[in-house]
């Protein structure tokens, strides 16, 4: 891990201190699924893989949508979120048909390294929500005939680094397992999911339900996602500023940076969630930046000058 960490140059992508939005892709009422010739969508170095068969309009993976239909049942309305809009009132969002699973990863064509996703927003799709609420030809309404069936629709998010499972997060998009039926719920609003503080290179999304048959899950395997908050992507390819060297990647009280730049540059230190913790100026020559006040952990330092940037990670030690 340390080896990898020290090898990589760092880049805080365009989304640093912001979030991934999908508004540039679609306008209200539209959706995009046919991603050909690309087998997916890329946003700020995050890759949303998708497989789409245009002839049969069949797909699995991710689509980008701004459709607003919250009343039409069935798969013909498979691209709508039950809220009719994206998180925070924005029009666009991502829809995943996780059959059997969907995932996001670094855009390996442009990026190599790791990422963190501190949070994301999720919601039910209209198709799945109405199917769980009302039932359809294949699936039951949750609660069953009596209303007492302990049904659930569960989103399981797993994070990986170099194929090793880092964490598993469970989120119930519907939960009818309560003794008191009045507590049963279907998620119909965008809900923020906080991710543990880990560095990852891919995230998978799996859906499971209490309504299953011989052919697998009867509940439509869709969910919607938005606002992948502050994704921090480590990148070696987009380092555009040369002349900066980090002398010590393990720092206890001071970080030593050597600058060959002709003029003063700006620096920022970021935590794992992409939050800016410290900032200042870098002069030509060797600089000693105090990190005494930082808790032990992993950090990134970014130096910018005239629109160019240089990033590297370091570890604050005791």
């Amino acid at each position: 891990m340390t080896k990898l960490f020290t090898l990589l140059l760092l880049l805080i992508s365009l989304g640093v201190n912001g979030q991934i939005y999908f508004e540039d892709e679609v306008t209200t009422g539209e959706f995009i699924n046919d991603s050909s010739p690309e087998a997916g969508f890329t946003f700020d170095n995050l890759f949303f893989p998708n497989t789409y068969d245009a002839d049969f309009d069949f797909w699995t993976g991710w689509a980008i949508s701004a459709t607003t239909d919250v009343t039409t049942a069935g798969f013909m309305n498979q691209y709508s979120a039950i809220s009719g809009e994206g998180a925070s009132g924005t029009p666009a969002y991502a829809v995943s048909f996780a059959s059997p699973e969907s995932y996001i990863t670094l855009d390996l064509d442009q990026t190599s390294g790791m990422l963190t996703i501190p949070s994301m927003q999720v919601n039910n799709s209209t198709y799945t929500y109405l199917s769980m609420r009302d039932g359809d030809s294949f699936a039951k309404k949750f609660g069953g005939e009596t209303g007492n069936d302990p049904d659930f629709f569960l989103l399981t998010i797993k994070t990986y680094l170099e194929n090793d499972l880092q964490d598993s997060i469970l989120f119930y998009l519907a939960d009818y397992r309560f003794e008191d039926n009045s507590e049963d719920y279907l998620v119909d609003e965008w809900t923020k999911i906080e991710f543990p503080n880990v560095v990852v290179d891919s995230v998978t999304f799996g859906l499971s339900s209490s309504d299953n048959g011989m052919f697998g899950m009867n509940t439509p395997a869709y969910f919607c996602a938005d606002e992948f908050g502050n994704p921090l992507v480590l990148n070696v390819k987009d380092n555009t500023l040369s002349g900066i060297t980090l002398v010590n990647t393990l720092a206890s009280s001071e970080l030593i940076i050597k600058s060959d730049l002709d003029k003063i540059a700006d620096y920022q230190i970021f935590g794992l969630h992409g939050q800016a913790i410290q900032k200042g100026k870098i002069n030509r020559g060797e600089q000693y930046l105090s990190v005494d006040n930082l808790p032990v952990g992993k950090y990134w330092i970014r130096v910018q000058q005239d629109g160019l940037q240089w990033i590297e990670g370091f570890v604050k030690m005791n």
Partner: protein
């Protein structure tokens, strides 16, 4: 129901050859003609459910009705109308709820596989539906039936025609509508739920023309038109449905036959066109599928001496089908040729058949069938049959886009059965018969729609192997006293139909019973005619079944009672009847999440000229 024993010998006529097969090494349930008339059913599926050992998957008025015979799927039931197949080639099966009972005069179920005789798909059994020509009828032919009952049921049927010894012209018209708004049981502490969006409306007409060109030559022609508009109700775990389905059927067929002293030739042709439109505005679905069938069949039969009979048959079937589910419209041509040899030597009758069929350029398995009937005593008959059988994939499995697989293999395997029929010697006023049949069938390459590893679209695959074995009992008793006739029929089936190997998806465990395949079925009919009064009591038991959602539906007992009274005038016969369905008001389910009605009534009037 009559037992197979009535048709178990090879009785070679001395003057003319009869057209129907008269040999059987197999179990047969044949509809009781009187019962059909006295107890008007809505559709053929009801007849099969009430009085045969066929398991009918249906959830009440207006719903589709598909069959399972000896643990086979609906596609393993061959359905012949006047000797020609009428299944939907896209699905490979037939919805029996689309066959009005008034359009059919005789229903017979031949159990077990016999593809060599009956053709593609005759693996579980064959249902023969026939229109009967009665050349004794002269002048006006008239019959009218009307039934009104619970849940808005109103049904009228008219059979009217004219005939003499040379020709007969018969028109059958059928109209039925029903709301089917019954209530059904959910649980003890909840109110019964009312069925919604379940109305049906249908009408149809069957025109028949029969012409006896000479005493040896006959020409028959039929035109069947029918339209069925039915709403599709929500299941019990669904709040609402606005879906509906419209089926429009046109069937035109004709046959000509010539009977010599010791030979018979028959030529048949048919054209079918069926449309199925499914609309669900809630889901934005409006799908139309259509198929055409053009069929020609020739059979020739020759008696050789007194003990041999040879039959040769040739059939060409052309299908054309189109739906949004196919990339393009599809066609398929099938040619089949078969030979059948029957012989009788003293108390032993033998039959050997073989069929070869080609599906487009593809040669299907050569299927032989061998049957034997041995009657050592007047009261006992032993019978048996061994046959190889197949079912070629339906058009959806072949051409569904994008996962249809034109390289699918036909399902195939061997069936064997042994049976014993005992005819009770007439003692006092009682006669009776009992039969017992044991069978086993192994089918490989059974087609299932599965989600292949790494794929996101279901695809038909030759993946399942199924073994079916069971025992069938039939008992018929008839007693006569002064002004009273009592008939009692019992049937009991034990069936084990299991998967021979495990599959991950669909989730199937080796040794598990096929879904919707009861291990036990019992059915019985008691019919008493006393003077002009009639009582028919039917009771059946269906054992528990597993479902597609890995649940189990418990077994259930179900009884129906019909009370009737016959009024006769010089030329007319009127029967009034009251039928009580689900007499004991049982809560039961045939299909998961589908409620069934409790006790309900219907009144019928059946008037006919005789």
């Amino acid at each position: 129901m009559k037992l197979c024993a009535q048709k178990d010998t090879l009785a070679l006529p001395t003057v003319t050859v009869q057209e129907k097969p008269i040999f059987s090494g197999e179990q047969i349930d044949q509809s009781d003609e009187d019962l059909l008339r006295q107890q008007p059913a809505t559709h053929v599926g009801e007849i099969l459910a009430q009085s045969t050992g066929v398991f009918v998957k249906s959830f009440g008025g207006g719903s589709s009705a598909t069959t399972s015979i000896r643990g086979g799927s609906a596609e393993h039931t061959r359905v012949l109308w006047n000797g020609l197949p009428i299944e939907n080639p896209m699905l490979g099966q037939l919805d029996f709820s689309l066959l009005p009972a008034i359009f059919i005069d005789e229903v017979a179920v031949h159990y077990g596989g016999n593809t060599a005789t009956w053709g593609n798909g005759a693996i579980g059994g064959t249902v023969q539906l026939d229109n009967k020509t009665d050349w004794q009828k002269k002048n006006l032919i008239a019959q009218y039936t009307a039934t009104n009952g619970a849940f808005g049921l109103a049904q009228q049927g008219l059979k009217i025609g004219y005939g003499n010894e040379k020709f007969q012209f018969i028109n059958r018209i059928f109209h039925q509508k029903a709301e089917n708004d019954f209530t059904y049981f959910i649980s003890e502490n909840l109110p019964r739920r009312q069925q919604t969006n379940a109305a049906t409306k249908q009408w149809g007409s069957l025109q028949e023309f029969h012409y006896k060109i000479t005493p040896r030559q006959t020409l028959n022609a039929y035109f069947w038109y029918q339209t069925v508009d039915r709403q599709l109700p929500p299941h019990a775990a669904q709040n609402q449905s606005v879906a509906f389905q419209v089926d429009e059927t046109k069937r035109l067929s004709a046959d000509w036959q010539y009977a010599g002293d010791d030979w018979l030739i028959k030529a048949q042709t048919a054209w079918y066109e069926e449309d199925l439109r499914y609309v669900d505005s809630l889901s934005g679905i409006d799908d139309l599928s259509r198929f055409n069938t053009l069929l020609g069949q020739f059979t020739g039969t020759k008696n050789i001496g007194q003990i041999h009979r040879l039959t040769m048959g040739l059939q060409n079937t052309f299908y054309q089908a189109n739906t949004d589910l196919y990339e393009d419209g599809v066609t398929q041509n099938r040619i089949a040729i078969w030979l059948d040899w029957k012989t009788k030597w003293k108390k032993l009758s033998l039959e050997l058949s073989v069929r070869q069929e080609w599906q487009d350029e593809k040669r299907l398995p050569l299927v032989p069938s061998f049957g034997a009937v041995y009657r050592p005593w007047k009261w006992a008959t032993f019978r048996g049959r061994v046959s190889r059988n197949y079912r070629s994939p339906n058009l959806n499995a072949l051409y569904y886009f994008p996962t249809g697989n034109p390289d699918l293999l036909p399902e195939s395997g061997w069936s064997r059965e042994l049976g014993l029929d005992i005819h009770f010697i007439k003692a006092s006023n009682w006669t009776g018969s009992y039969s017992i049949t044991g069978f086993r069938r192994d089918i490989k390459n059974w087609i299932r729609w599965i989600l292949p590893e790494g794929s996101f679209s279901y695809a038909p695959t030759n993946i399942v192997a199924v073994k079916s074995e069971g025992i069938e009992h039939r008992l018929d008793l008839t007693g006569e006293a002064k002004n009273t006739i009592i008939k009692v029929s019992f049937g009991y089936n034990q069936l084990r139909s299991i998967h021979k190997k495990s599959i991950a998806r669909p989730q199937i465990a080796a040794g598990s019973q096929l879904v919707y395949t009861p291990k036990q079925q019992f059915f019985s009919t008691l019919k008493i005619n006393h003077h002009a009064a009639l009582l028919i009591f039917q009771h059946r038991f269906t054992g528990e079944v597993s479902t597609l959602n890995n649940h189990t539906l418990p077994g259930y007992h179900l009884s129906d009672l019909t009370l009737g009274y016959l009024l006769k005038t010089k030329r007319w016969q009127h029967q009034l009847s009251l039928r009580i369905n689900n007499l004991w008001n049982k809560n039961y389910r045939v299909l998961e999440r589908r409620g069934m009605p409790g006790r309900h009534l219907s009144f019928s009037l059946n008037t006919r000229l005789f």
